[in-house]
Amino acid sequence: MTARSATQRPTTARPTTARPMTAVRRSLHDNRVFWIAGVILALFLAGFFSYYASSRPDGLEKVAKDQGIDRKAEDHRLSDSPLAEYQTKNVDNPRLSGGLAGVIGVGATLAVGTGVFWVVRRRPAPALDRSAPAPDRSAHIADKSAPDSSAPDSSAADRSAADKSDPSPDRSR
């Protein structure tokens, strides 16, 4: 494998040099599709399906009531806020009132959550770390398999390795 793949590397690299963009673009596109589907599902669950949720007290509420833990419970300080108890104020239709509250909640959580995660995320420079382990390891393989390979050659191998490492999760679907 070693000698042959070393001699064959140019042919391996050539068809894949055009791929980095397509691979990245495709993975971003796939993520966008996934993201949109997820948001639609969340909006559906909170905006429509939540109407059919059980209105019984939840585990803690029930235990607290039965055992008397809630004897000194206080009203929520924001209990007259416009969305208190997942009902939208001044909207009389219960389906609409709860659904609207759910949709607003999904939107607000999505916005705040994404904001936090966007601030916290790795920045572009360290973001190279994400793909680093895979090309690194393949660089080792490339070095071992072709100690005589010239510098531009091995960098081409690196690139082709990076190309392949990106789409492979999709392939394993």
Partner: protein, 284 residues
């Protein structure tokens, strides 16, 4: 399971607030390793999804309902640190916008529902994934068990907090018994929702499941020499040929390597090198 104001006294609420703040601070630091520009929007989606599913109370025995807590789900999908942040954001929104969960009790709620569930679920999940045979079904099963355990664990932590700082004097044995009892049942619902969601994402985009990364990475490694050979043997387009083609023609040369990318469920066959790879993946 949102604790309202007036269950726990002020000092213990403040103490829980400090624990929660420390947990969130650690998670903010740790989440940097788990998030990049590709996964950050997905983590936001996980938070929104948990908010939505928390609205869906399902009935459990005796006039009681339960809802997802989401710590296990978030930890498995986007990583433990990001998971703590996901649930914390949900709890914050619920407390501020929907009057669900007291404001002074926010620390109690974060400690209980974000930190406890994530830590218990993720530790258990990792252990199970290590013990069980490699494969997607194991990940889903581990998610089920981890989620099921995380809910009574949160109930137990609530009981401890109540024991230290409860403003009413209900016998602890009663609180512990009834809290953990009913939350074992709710945990089954949590487990079903978590396993269903993790299983669905695994089926569509296994690369997006943080908890399954150890399973996918080794496949990448094996794919590369395989595809290189595929190209060399005349398949001009290794990337497209990989899913179906290579298994047959290349089999004589290196059967294990070639079957791996084509059938990820068979990842178990590649264990020797897969196991070796795992610590590196964990560090990366």
């Amino acid at each position: 399971m949102h604790v309202p104001d007036g269950f726990i006294d002020a000092p213990v609420s403040i103490g829980a607030g400090a624990v929660a703040a420390a947990g969130v601070a650690v998670s903010l630091r740790g989440a940097r390793r788990e998030l990049d520009e590709r996964t950050a929007p997905l983590a936001g989606l996980v938070a929104a999804f948990i908010f939505a599913v928390q609205m869906l109370n399902f009935p459990v025995a005796a006039g009681t309902s339960g809802h997802l807590l989401g710590g296990a789900l978030a930890a498995i999908l986007v990583g433990p640190c990001t998971g703590v942040l996901c649930v914390s954001v949900v709890l914050l929104m619920q407390g501020l916008l929907f009057a669900d969960g007291g404001l002074t009790a926010l620390g109690v709620n974060v400690t209980d529902m974000a930190i406890t569930t994530v830590v218990v679920a993720y530790v258990l999940f990792r252990l199970l994934v290590k013990v069980l045979p490699r494969g997607r079904r194991s990940v889903t099963a581990a998610a089920f068990v981890a989620a099921a355990a995380s809910v009574p664990a949160a109930a137990a932590v609530f009981t401890v907090i109540y024991a230290v700082g409860g403003v009413t004097d209900v016998p602890l044995s009663k609180v512990a018994g009834s809290m953990i009892g009913v939350h074992v049942l709710i945990g089954l619902g949590e487990a079903a929702i978590t396993a269903l969601t993790v299983g669905s994402v695994l089926a569509v985009r296994p690369d997006l499941v943080h908890g399954a990364r150890g399973l996918e990475r080794p496949l990448e490694l094996h794919t590369r020499p395989g595809t290189a050979k595929a190209a060399q043997d005349g398949h001009g387009r290794p990337e497209k040929a990989a899913p179906e083609a290579p298994a047959a023609p290349e089999a004589p040369e290196a059967p294990a390597r070639h079957s791996a990318p084509a059938a990820p469920a068979d990842a178990g066959r590649t264990t020797p090198s897969g196991v070796r790879d795992r610590p590196q993946d964990a560090k990366a």
